[in-house]
Symmetry: C2
């Protein structure tokens, strides 16, 4: 065996164990008995310790030093690049720090949940201080003197720079704020009414997931408290949730997770259990979930078809025609909560968090001032005041889990979805006629061809640029939102 073959065999084991760890996470959210939590924590720690040990095995360093990239095919050079990247990052992190972070975030989760329940940010602040100190230490270890936040961001969005994202977001924000205000000055749209039995919601959700191309022979749909997609290759599972009075929660959560899952399922089978065999970044992943959910799933054409499905499934639910249904699906309303936000307001929630967490990591904002800074910014962007911490600074789990650098990838995903949608509509001009019949195959085939099949073969921005034929920018998303909501709200 050559050094490269040895390296790939080793890496295959790492990827397989990573899949197992992911499956444990799925199990925890869908199947694990309530009393098994502490034992599961030790099981997770054991497999993560093995993974860390394998990822930083000195043999990997030896192999990497023996391999001449020029001797490899282009695909194998991609493998090598990703393995080297992972090795270098993991080697920089002292094992002590990784273990302290695991310990601290595990404790912090309970503290955050309790503080959120009590609407008491002060109770959580000291815990967050501890997490922040460890994350700044981690960032310093990774950054080699460069920007601390970039070092964390790189974990979720390889090669992205916070300054570039900030510029993109700042270009988007004024347009979003003014479009939002104009929409909310108009009369509100009517919503659905009545009861939507869980079994029928799940049945329709499963049908729609399959229409969007989700392969149940290599996946499954379950209920969980939080919708998510997990796994790569031939075992990619999604979850959703149901609310008796709101069928859109289940339906659009399912379409969103189907976007993530189809990305994973449609990756070239030749990349199975290799570093190329999963989605390339959180931003590109989110672009797939968002274009499925919003640009396709909430389009006038597709909702026209969906209206008939809803009537067949639930009978009369208070909406009398396709146009009113389209408006109900895309209704814009005031709200505090990011995860419940519509596609117009969602990015404002994200930008708020991005700016605050950058300031925290940079040391420009103290944890004790975070709640105040959150509330001021919320008032500025949304025009009304946060009424309690659980509706504001305590609403998200991310910071308690140490996930600094994660938030901006949500909006980057939306920006990428905007770019991809423009290119898709250009390449498939008759798409709406298909969508109006509930046929998404032209869209999903285009996304498979342009994005999914490549897995992690190209860098995130690169794969988007190849798909669109031009560098990504925020302009297509803003144009799409302006057009859609001006039309819907007669602006």
């Amino acid at each position: 065996m050559t050094a490269f073959q040895d390296l790939c065999a080793h890496q295959r084991k790492v990827v397989a164990l990573g899949q197992i760890s992911g499956r444990l996470g799925w199990d925890q959210e869908t199947s694990m008995p309530g009393g098994a939590g502490a034992q599961r924590g030790e099981e997770f720690a054991a497999i993560e310790a093995v993974l860390h040990q394998l990822r930083t095995d000195p043999k990997v360093g030896d192999w990497l030093s023996q391999i001449d990239p020029a001797s490899l095919s282009e695909v194998d050079q991609s493998h090598l690049r990703l393995i080297r990247r992972s090795y270098d990052r993991n080697k920089k992190l002292p094992e002590r720090l990784a273990s302290e972070l695991a310990q601290a975030t595990s404790t912090a989760h309970a503290a955050w949940a309790a503080a959120r329940k009590a609407d008491d940010f002060k109770a959580f602040a000291p815990v967050l201080e501890g997490i922040l100190a460890l994350k700044r230490e981690e960032a310093a270890a990774l950054a080699d003197g460069d920007d601390l936040y970039d070092a964390l961001l790189d974990d979720y969005e390889p090669e992205a720079k916070a300054a570039d994202l900030a510029a993109m977001f700042e270009a988007l924000r004024p347009g979003l704020v003014s479009l939002r205000q104009a929409v909310l000055d108009q009369p509100a749209k009517a919503g659905v009414s009545g009861a939507f039995p869980e079994a029928q919601q799940m049945e329709l959700a499963l049908k729609v997931a399959q229409i969007f191309g989700y392969d149940l022979n290599r996946g499954r749909l379950d209920k969980a408290v939080h919708p998510f997609s997990s796994g790569s290759g031939n075992d990619v599972r999604i979850t959703t949730r149901t609310e008796e009075t709101d069928p859109f929660n289940c339906l659009y959560s399912t379409i969103h997770e189907t976007g993530h899952a189809c990305y994973e399922q449609n990756i070239d089978q030749a990349y199975l259990l290799t570093p190329l065999g999963s989605g390339v970044s959180m931003g590109v992943h989110e672009s797939q979930s968002r274009i499925y959910e919003n640009q396709i799933g909430r389009s006038r054409a597709f909702t026209g078809w969906l209206f008939g499905q809803m009537r067949d499934t639930f009978g009369d639910f208070g909406i009398s025609n396709e146009e009113a249904f389209y408006a109900a699906v895309n209704s814009v309303r005031n709200g505090f909560i990011r995860t419940e936000a519509d596609e117009l307001q969602y990015n404002l929630h994200v930008m708020l968090r991005f700016d605050l967490e950058r300031a925290l990591i940079a040391g420009d904002l103290a944890v004790n001032d975070l709640e105040c800074a959150w509330n001021d910014r919320f008032q500025a962007d949304f025009g009304f005041a946060v009424d309690r911490a659980s509706h504001g600074v305590l609403q998200d789990v991310h910071w308690s889990a140490g996930l600094f650098g994660y938030f901006p990838t949500y909006s980057l995903g939306n920006v990428y979805a905007g770019c991809l949608n423009a290119a898709l509509r250009r390449d498939v001009p008759d798409l709406d006629a298909d969508l109006a019949r509930g046929d998404t195959s032209a869209a999903t085939a285009w996304l498979t061809d342009k994005i999914h099949q490549h897995g992690s073969r190209y860098a995130p921005r690169q794969v988007i640029e190849m798909a669109c034929g031009e560098p990504p920018s925020e302009a297509p998303l803003m144009a799409y939102l302006n057009e859609k909501f001006s039309d819907l709200y007669d602006l």
Copy 2:
């Protein structure tokens, strides 16, 4: 940290990873999408390779050589004994052999399934030859010149010797053959009739599992093709199956697996994720599933209560009183299949396999003569001829999976259950009055106290002897069967 503490920390990781591997097995049987099989195979191989590497890590040898057992508490000496045992066994197995066996049994499973479907033993024989050769090689590596079969048996039943089991079984066999014949000479008992909807079967099964002490906060019940119990400590899951016309399949499979699961759930929490924290042997494990299922679950007292539950659940099902129900539950009929056998005939099926596989491993029986030997022995013990290979030599998965040495632990478990039942009835003389009210708590508390809590703290025979106050023998089982079936069939 002392060498012993280092060793225990290492071992805790091994046990935790073993639990993860077990959970993957549960997932495969209950949740895994059909198309994920090949990928799952690689995931299993990856975690098994890690486990093998950790179990044979030279550091373990170093620690073992540094530890003076005399310096340890009695419990810690048990830890040390089990870790040393595992290390010594694993070190004797060349990694090449382990990997060849994994490969061969994985291929053999499909070959066995195809041959069984085609009722064609000759198609499977060459594959079985390959497995047998590898198992004999494994046995030789483990045996150090001692008996080959004992070396394999030791994996399932530590410290047991095939010659002792053979003597025990030979003492049992004539009595079983003649009791069986006498029973079958009597008129057959009436069975149940009608349909038993799956949902109600599962509901009753879950209720009965809880009555037997199964803790759903640390477990769960699902459907699977084959009933099984998996996991230790605080995450012990069971599966069952349903047949529309036979409610006893679901019910007694559930009680059987509940016996396994309660053993695991009731082990002293101080042993969690240590080598002491799981059942000590297959034989002792089977004794728990069997005493739950048979000596308690099929007793006249308990079935009296169960009859009322069945009537409440299913209405009229063709049985009009408790005594007829007791007879139906314990009905003895001719049959080819071990897994469908009643408690009287079951051990004859096992002894047949035990004698044949001992002869195969010893080299006294050729694979090509196996089908003939099976059919001759079946005719001798059961009095009628095997009509096809799938009803005979191809019915069990075990040999295709390389599980030589496993079969006798089923009957050893029955023998142990007989011993424990005699001691239980002696210590809790009023048990039947409780059982007649559906209250098994006195029995399960006795088993928890005598067996479950100890986990792997004592050797298998030792824990049975401690519970019973005398060395185990086949006599109590034979006496119990004679009394029960003589009474039931008016002999």
